[in-house]
């Protein structure tokens, strides 16, 4: 496989963007990524999107994306893997370039979630779970993660405060992110006393409904060297694995096997251990998710994700900073865009271009982990500055 670098990144300000249509959301980040790379065109475009069909009655973003980004007739392909759609789109774009089929390919991600009401959004998001044996029985997405939380708390003694600490940390980081949807800090008490969504998870344990997009440009390493003067960010590891779509059928309700497998693939490919990585962006769709993910990645031992969060290991100033961007929790979670936005954050940190107050001192190798459903798919990438 050829070496591949990220040479351009773009992301609009996320939020409830009532005035921006799905097509303009895609185009905004696509143009920013092209500008950042200093190019006008790509050879192909991938678009991670979970459910433009249910959110906006519009499929076929593989045509709409290039069309409204001004790069028609470039081929477009929409990639879906629920909330891991962005990560999967990035991986497809990576392989497109690695194969030699093209030199420059864009991976974009988008979700336009506020054209439907809360009930419509809940319905659309639930299609990531098993419609016939989970959703049919009245469970919601927060409900599935809440069941993991209760199991984890019982098995490992994880506490309510440790869960809340994930949200406190990520909002602290996100308050410094100029593109985040919720730029505010929250306290432990605020998280615990917020409206209960699904026991033990409150509203502030849950990522929000968000409109947003992100895009990155991948380029063969040889060509990248001649195209850009910015620090080259090389894709050194890629992993992807699935698990049963039903939570109930997993071997263990307290661990994320797909993430562990995907991480091992990516680390093996990169020839690194987890402790060689400087920082990570992970899929904190719910507070419990980040705790289980850092365990699956090996940042904390199995069952020790709660204490590792509480003792500051994963804080911006900790040994292994996690979600310096604010994560899905504070930055927002336009599902199809999330995985691509993680690559944007990794690239900016590695280049030293993150918002001043949250730029890490040591950010040469970063890991991104993007997850679909209740952990039924997981995509992991490792990027290194050259």
């Amino acid at each position: 496989m050829r070496d591949v670098a990220v040479i351009g990144v773009g992301m609009n300000k996320w939020g409830e963007l009532w005035e921006t249509s799905l097509r303009d959301l895609i185009a905004q980040s696509a143009l920013m990524a092209l500008d950042d790379a200093g190019i006008e065109e790509v050879e192909a475009m991938y678009i991670g999107c979970m459910s433009s069909g249910l959110f906006t009655d519009q499929e076929h973003l593989g045509s709409m994306g290039p069309d409204y980004s001004g790069i028609c007739p470039v081929p477009g392909t929409r990639v879906e893997s629920a909330c891991a759609s962005g990560g999967a789109a990035f991986r497809s774009a990576y392989m497109h370039v690695a194969s030699g089929m093209a030199d420059i390919v864009m991976a974009a991600g988008v979700e336009k979630m506020t054209d439907v009401d809360g009930g419509g959004a809940t319905f659309a998001l639930a299609t990531a779970a098993d419609q016939e044996y989970e959703v049919y029985n009245g469970v919601t997405f927060p409900g599935l993660y809440a069941m993991m939380a209760n199991h984890h708390m019982k098995k490992y003694g994880t506490t309510r405060d440790q869960l809340a600490q994930v949200s406190v940390k990520n909002h602290y980081n996100g308050a410094k992110n100029s593109l985040a949807q919720f730029r505010m800090e929250v306290s432990l008490d605020q998280v615990k006393n917020a409206v209960m969504v699904s026991d033990p998870l409150t509203l502030l344990d849950c990522s929000p409904i968000t409109d947003g997009s992100a895009a990155v440009i991948l380029c063969s390493m040889d060509k990248a060297k001649s195209l850009t003067k910015k620090r080259l960010v090389k894709v050194i590891g890629s992993g992807h694995a699935s698990d049963t779509i039903q939570l109930a059928q997993r071997e263990d309700l307290s661990s994320l096997k797909s993430t562990a497998i995907a991480a091992k693939q990516a680390l093996d490919m990169a020839g690194r251990k987890i402790n060689d990585i400087n920082f990570a962006e992970v899929h904190d769709c719910f507070s419990i998710a980040e705790i289980m993910v850092i365990e699956a990645l090996g940042i904390a031992a199995q069952g020790k994700g709660g204490p590792a969060t509480a003792d500051g290991t994963t804080a911006m100033t900790g040994k292994f900073p996690v979600n310096v961007s604010g994560g899905l929790k504070s930055k927002g979670h336009p599902v199809g865009a999330t995985g691509v936005a993680q690559i944007v954050e990794l690239t900016k940190q590695i280049r030293g271009e993150a918002d001043k107050d949250r730029q890490l001192k040591k950010a040469d190798i970063g890991l991104a982990q993007n997850m679909g459903g209740s952990g039924a798919s997981s995509v992991v990438h490792i990027l290194e500055g050259m």
Partner: protein, 129 residues
């Protein structure tokens, strides 16, 4: 829920029908056409046990549209033995009563109704033993 989909799933929802792998004995619920354990494609019909234990649970307080009237309601993952777990609502049980490890029994109940006076869909729920 569409009519073809609903009728197709009656064996599982109403009669707890599962598929037992003839080669390795793994029980799949819902039935599958290939065994996830050993990849055999030969199964015999079986039924899942109607008694089990709550392995984990939650209480849904912000519910999907068709369940709004019932919220808050508990939902559990129940281990019914033979390596089978099912996710279902917990009936006849207050949000404060449900606990991990609780013994429950699966029963056939009304699960949802499409709108006011709409089609009633049935299935299984568990109740405290």
């Amino acid at each position: 829920m569409s009519a073809p989909k609903y009728w197709r799933e009656i064996p599982q929802r109403y009669r707890f029908e599962a598929a037992k792998c003839k080669k390795c004995g793994k029980v799949s619920f819902p039935p599958r056409i290939v065994c996830p354990e050993c990849r055999s494609r030969e199964f015999e019909n079986t039924r899942i046990n109607d008694k089990g234990t709550v392995e984990t649970y939650t209480v849904i307080r912000v519910a999907p549209t068709q369940f709004t009237d019932e919220a808050p309601y508990p939902v559990a993952i129940v281990d019914v033995g033979d390596g089978v777990r099912v996710l279902c609502q917990v009936a006849d049980c207050g949000p404060e009563e449900i606990k991990i490890g609780m013994s429950v029994r699966l029963e056939f109940r009304k699960v949802q109704q499409e709108g006011h006076g709409g089609i009633i869909n049935y299935g299984y729920k568990c109740v405290p033993e």
